[in-house]
């Protein structure tokens, strides 16, 4: 369906534009303003130019060290959960029942973790993992593993990662399932006539059809894990020490804990810029993938 060019459409978009501008552009301006200044309280501000940004990118300073360390932890976290959730999500989507009431039941249970408030997700795992009252912690300790996410770095990491897998793998699975459902039965019949193996069916039919949804899944999971705050904050509080302090947790500490406006603002801008760049790359890839698809659809 071709769209007609009509500049009056802007009037229809105007409310959205105003609401989002009010809640996105206006606050961002104050951030830019703060990032250039220093304050000693009492609403007295001093011009600091690009000082905060220099400090932020220099690992030898306190601010830079904290920022780069949390950035590194966050990137590592995002990579690990992507490496687990994407393949697992595909496997779960392929394991969906074919028909009957079990399909609906599986969909409902899969979606359940997605709709739980994030702090409650944290609470659930906080309780579940505790060695004294949690099933997981109790069982692990009873089979001889010395598991305690409060005092041990690696246990804290494992807990946060398993929690994220628990929370979000369903999203990847549901997206893949939506992609798989759009494959016509005729494709499978053709594959069967050709005597294709299961692996060949997956590689030649199912995976290409899931390309687009997988791209969206990777984008959403990367973004959301890159700005994760609530769940690890509730479970580990960023600890033990700083071992699970991700960028958002560090930022909130500086901004709302120490009220260090200049530093927090500079960190915010760099953080936002990273997100914007990644977002733009994905957007370009996504629209290009969409453009390639269109001629095929026209031919079919």
């Amino acid at each position: 369906m071709d769209k007609t060019v009509n500049q009056k459409a802007w009037f229809l978009v105007l409310p959205v534009f105003l609401v989002v501008a009010f809640s996105a552009v206006l606050p961002l301006m104050t951030v830019v303003n703060y990032s250039m200044q220093d304050t000693f309280g009492n609403n007295q501000f001093f011009w600091n130019g690009v000082g905060w940004f220099k400090e932020l990118l220099d690992p030898s300073t306190d601010l830079g060290g904290r920022f780069l360390a949390s950035l590194g932890r966050n990137l590592f976290f995002s990579m690990v959960i992507l490496a687990i959730e994407v393949p697992l999500g595909i496997v779960v989507a392929l394991s969906m029942p074919r028909q009957g009431w079990t399909v609906a039941a599986c969909l409902v249970i899969l979606a359940l973790p997605l709709l739980i408030p994030w702090n409650v997700v944290g609470t659930i795992w906080q309780i579940f993992g505790r060695p004294d009252i949690g099933l997981l912690g109790y069982v692990l300790n009873h089979i001889g593993l010395d598991y305690n996410y409060v005092s041990n770095d690696i246990d804290a990491w494992v807990t946060v990662i398993v929690m994220d897998v628990w929370h979000w793998t369903s999203l990847v699975a549901l997206l893949c399932y939506a992609g798989l459902k759009s494959i016509p039965e005729a494709y499978y019949q053709a594959a069967q006539i050709d005597g294709a193996s299961r692996w060949a069916v997956f590689k030649a039919i199912q995976l290409p059809k899931m390309n687009r949804v997988l791209l969206i899944a990777v984008l959403l999971r990367f973004m959301d894990s890159f700005m994760i705050y609530t769940e690890p904050f509730v479970v580990t509080g960023g600890g033990p020490g700083n071992s699970t302090t991700f960028v958002s947790i560090e930022l909130v500490k500086i901004a709302l804990g120490q009220f260090d406006l200049g530093k927090a603002a500079a960190l915010s801008l760099v953080y936002n810029l990273i997100i914007l760049i990644v977002c733009w790359i994905f957007y370009t890839v996504m629209t290009n993938a969409g453009a390639e698809r269109k001629p095929q659809e026209g031919a079919a």
Binding site: T4, Q7, W10, M96, L115, V120, T123, L261
Partner: protein, 268 residues
């Protein structure tokens, strides 16, 4: 659809993995604190409703649910009403800067809440909305409005253009066409969009906590604070958690076929 060998086993194990932690929370909410601390029991041996009773009778607890519902409902109404015309515009017309606007909306959906916590705090304090449901409702628009636009755009595109043209030929004005014809046609889409706005506003904690202090404090914030103050009242915490899961669990059945689409910004 062709599946893989052992699919029943894989699916079964995965569903157990999903349900076990939730079961543990529900299990704990029916136990007395003495039972929680003293012994490891797989189901409540002395089941009790004392935690739920406390939440429903203690105002400092149940007011949290009311506060949360207030800003969530406000946010849903604002998001849907501004997103509807925009969705129509994106679906039907091409206009100056439409692609840039689209990307801008996407980037706002992806913006980390932590970045906005402090400037929102300043902004809403300055205009006197701090600690009201309006502050949180407006703040959550940053990710819910783009979402609503995309979901609704998909549904509007499903309405054949001939319907618009016929209505205009019949002499419908644009607002009348919008309310009398288009909105009823995409009613299910509005329902889905409203569900997701409700959900994403309901699960968010950081902004909601930052923008409220006393009178509009959401249930999520009450949970985090009371835990440290009361010296770990695990049963109460678990009961409060179970109650926050219920709204999602109640409506999940009706939107089960749209969940993928809602999380993928209507792009699936």
């Amino acid at each position: 659809m062709h599946s893989i060998p052992g699919r029943r086993l894989i699916m079964g194990l995965f569903l157990i993995f999903l349900l076990l932690p939730i079961y543990w929370l529900v299990n704990m909410s029916f136990k007395t604190n003495a039972e929680i601390v003293s012994s490891m029991t797989l189901w409540p041996h002395t089941p009790t409703l004392q935690h739920y009773k406390r939440i429903f009778t203690d105002e400092s607890w149940y007011s949290g649910y009311i506060n949360s519902l207030e800003y969530v409902v406000l946010n849903t109404i604002i998001s849907i009403s501004v997103a509807l015309p925009a969705a129509y515009a994106f679906s039907r017309y091409r206009f100056l800067g439409d692609k840039h606007l689209f990307f801008w909306l996407l980037s706002n959906r992806m913006a980390p809440a932590a970045v906005y916590a402090l400037p929102f705090f300043n902004l809403y304090s300055a205009i006197g909305l701090f600690d009201t449901p309006w502050a949180v409702a407006l703040a959550h628009c940053i990710f819910n409005v783009p979402l609503a636009v995309w979901i609704l755009e998909g549904f509007v595109s499903g309405v054949p253009r001939e319907i618009d043209e016929t209505a205009f030929l019949d002499g419908y004005s644009f607002p009348r066409f919008f309310i009398k014809i288009l909105v009823p046609l995409i009613a299910s889409g509005i329902g889905v969009a409203a569900f997701f706005c409700f959900m994403f506003s309901w699960v968010e904690l950081l902004l909601a906590r930052t923008l409220t202090s006393v009178s509009a404090k959401p249930i999520a914030a009450i949970m985090t604070r009371t835990v440290s103050a009361a010296g770990m009242d695990w049963g109460l915490l678990a009961a409060a958690g179970v109650l926050t899961i219920i709204p999602g669990a109640l409506v999940i059945w009706f939107v089960r076929n749209y969940i993928a689409s809602g999380f993928a910004l209507g792009r699936v």
